[in-house]
């Protein structure tokens, strides 16, 4: 067997992990890639609706409170930092620190969801519906295109549902960690998912709220 074939066999023949990671981590990354493609599709759909529409998109600051969205971003980025700290603490065997940071992340996630619920309520009161803006409402008076509220609800709704499921995963991880039942890798898997939620928000924040 040539050295090239031997290398290929060593990496792809099934004998050695081709990704240099445990199967749990590899599967988690593959899941993240597929979930990223879901958001890629949603953001592309949003781009299509916006580019092909004849009614101009409203200036976001006329509809949303940008400082409030910035606060949500701050909360999510901060929770990502504490999650990273929790992962490293778990790896180093510092269970107390890991648990403390997990709890901080949970508080951050809950705060983000609370902010999102507030924002949805506000936008609904402005007249936004999944099928467009209500005639005679504040948003209707702005003349927003039909797809504007739909894009908002779908993009932030899908993201919010990911935050909610991430929060549930974190709560389970924290409870099991406190009982010493979750290994460091379990915290790392939860962390990967949480960072992914943060990553998606970076794209939504820029492409939907700022551009």
């Amino acid at each position: 067997m040539s050295s090239h074939a031997a290398t290929l066999d060593a990496h792809w023949g099934g004998g050695v992990s081709p990704f240099g990671a445990t199967w749990q981590k590899t599967m988690m990354w593959i899941f993240i890639v597929t979930d990223a493609l879901l958001f890629g599709g949603l953001l592309s759909g949003y781009a299509y609706l916006r580019m092909a529409g004849t009614v101009p998109w409203p200036r976001q600051s006329e509809v949303f409170s940008i400082p409030f969205i910035a606060l949500m971003t701050f909360i999510l980025i901060t929770s990502s930092m504490s999650m990273g700290t929790a992962v490293t603490a778990a790896r180093l065997g510092d269970r107390k620190k890991a648990l403390r940071n997990l709890l901080f992340t949970i508080v951050g996630g809950a705060a983000f969801l609370g902010c999102q619920a507030y924002e949805w309520t506000h936008v609904i009161h402005q007249g936004a519906r999944l099928t467009g803006a209500l005639p005679g409402s504040e948003l209707g008076a702005l003349g927003v295109p039909v797809h504007f509220p739909a894009s908002f609800f779908v993009l932030t709704g899908f993201h919010g549902s990911h935050v909610l499921s991430g929060l549930i995963i974190l709560i389970i991880t924290a409870i099991r960690s406190s009982m010493g039942k979750t290994p460091a890798q379990g915290v790392e898997m939860a962390g990967l998912y949480w960072h992914f939620v943060d990553l998606v928000w970076v794209f939504i924040f820029t492409l939907f709220y700022l551009l």
Partner: protein, 100 residues
């Protein structure tokens, strides 16, 4: 000994600060009423910088095996590029037909 070996948590704090600074810069750019093309370029560039920092430092992708990095980065970027390549001309054509 490197500083990350002395304090393994430092990277998260530094990344957090950098992400906050970039976010403030992006918000500032949006508020300044800059030329549209420049704003788009500026925001999209910084969006990718933030994404790279999150995946690299928070998700530790930069420490993973190159095969894993490849599958993640190429998988996401290539599919997104294909999607955009299809929808951009299509949406332009729909817009033209609607206006006409």
């Amino acid at each position: 000994m490197s500083s990350s070996a002395e304090n393994p948590y430092r990277v998260y704090f530094v990344t957090w600060i950098a992400l906050l600074v970039i976010t403030v810069l992006m918000l500032g750019a949006e508020a300044l009423h800059l030329p549209r093309w420049f704003l788009v370029l500026f925001l999209v560039a910084f969006m990718f910088v933030k994404a790279a920092m999150i995946t690299g430092n928070f998700m530790h992708l930069k420490h993973e095996h190159p095969h894993l990095m490849l599958i993640v980065v190429v998988g996401i970027l290539l599919t997104s590029a294909i999607l955009l390549a299809y929808i951009t001309p299509e949406s332009a054509s729909v817009l033209q037909k609607t206006v006409r």
